[in-house]
Amino acid sequence: MLALIIVIVLVVVIGLVVMVLYNGLVGLKNKVEAAWAQIDVQLTRRADLIPNLVETVKGYASHERETLDAVIAARNAVQNASGPQESANADNQLSGALKSVFALAEAYPDLKANQNFLSLQETLTGTEDKIAYARQYYNDTVNRYNTKIQTVPSSLLAGMFHFTEREYFAAGGSARGPVEVSF
């Protein structure tokens, strides 16, 4: 009789422990998914703002075709990129192209004083920051998730329930070099 009770208690305790560990893994996995989605939200926002910026600048610096075309081309490259390496390269190119457009304001004081331009500059700079922070948060979350999968006792469950490690977001090869700004 006593043996039976002990067995039941053990089963219940183990069950509870498994439940807690499993829920912990699920929670972190969902956090990783959400963090990845957040990056896309900011990328989309940036892409949506760029046409507006180009139109505003055209009004004041219409003969700066090269710089403006470079931004449009870079934006399209980001939209069409496939695979992490291509995406990272296109992203880096777009950041450089945007910086070139903002630098134009130095040569065109009317543009620099334009409220719409200033507002777009602030919003786009903010969005670039948010993209960087979203990636940082994604990597932090992946770190916590991978660590949990690798360490005992969660590691025992991870294999059983097919929780697999996630990849970090890494800057592309060319992103490590200096960003090109052309006038």
Partner: protein
């Protein structure tokens, strides 16, 4: 960072318990003297519990009212809102309400009872003095107070201690709040020079906020000196002075 948050939550419970016991005792003694011995305990408990709950719920509103802060318009203060949003993405925090105080002296604080019900307050002087990177560092420091649950303790301290016995506030707050907020801020931005530069500017600035009630003196990032000097030094009693905080950050 979770360890700090847990310590602060424990501290909040202790603070609340002391408050409840103190109020309860006072009410009980008063009632007992008047002759209502039997009902005294129950009434004392109800009054003390009620006041504690009210203090908890209203602590941020009281602090905001005392400081004269008003909401910051997102269109007018786009940079401020953008920077806070970026940091919230980096830290996984919900975006707090953002308020402004019209004052040329640079300063800031955060209040609220939980990250979901928090308010970040900045003076217009701070916005004028700091560049984008420095402002971001200051905001990260304030958001760290929110993340570490510092704001729960400091907000409770406003209503439970500050309004009654301001001199006891340092003992209620605990150690190294500012320095741990500094390290959490750098963890958020991954850029120590930003905060170093901001703290240096604050150290070299000699102005003091105009509206400066004692009850909220402990909340500010930069201790307001002047009329309340002993108090301000006291709130930093268990913390490092600005120069040492800057030195610690340089070591990183």
């Amino acid at each position: 960072m979770e360890a700090i948050a847990a310590e602060r939550t424990r501290r909040a419970w202790i603070l609340t318990s002391v408050f409840v016991l103190a109020i309860g005792l006072v009410v009980f003694v008063v009632l007992a003297l008047v002759g209502l011995r039997s009902a005294a305990v129950l009434i004392a408990a109800l009054v003390a519990g009620g006041l504690a709950f009210l203090s908890y719920r209203s602590s941020d509103a009281v602090a905001l009212r005392l400081s004269g802060a008003t909401p910051a318009d997102p269109a007018e203060r786009a940079r401020l809102h953008n920077l806070v949003e970026g940091l919230c993405i980096a830290s996984g925090l919900p975006k707090p309400a953002i308020h402004l105080i019209d004052d040329p002296s640079p300063n800031a604080f955060a209040v609220g009872r939980a990250p979901k019900h928090a308010t970040l307050v900045v003076t217009t002087g701070m916005l004028d003095l700091m560049d984008r990177v420095e402002l971001e560092a200051v905001l990260a420091h304030e958001l760290s107070h929110i993340k570490n649950h510092d704001i729960l303790v400091s907000s409770l301290a406003v209503t439970m201690v500050g309004l009654i016995a301001p001199g006891l506030v340092p003992f209620a707050l605990g150690e190294r709040r500012e320095s741990s907020a500094d390290s959490s801020a750098v963890e958020m931005t991954r850029f120590p020079p930003g905060l170093i530069s901001a703290l240096e500017k604050l150290r070299d600035d000699t102005s003091v906020v105009r509206v400066n009630p004692r009850a909220i003196a402990h909340l500010w990032i930069e201790a307001p000196i002047g009329a309340h000097r002993p108090m301000a030094e006291g709130t930093r009693m268990f913390d490092l002075p600005l120069d040492e905080r800057i030195a610690v950050l340089r070591e990183l």
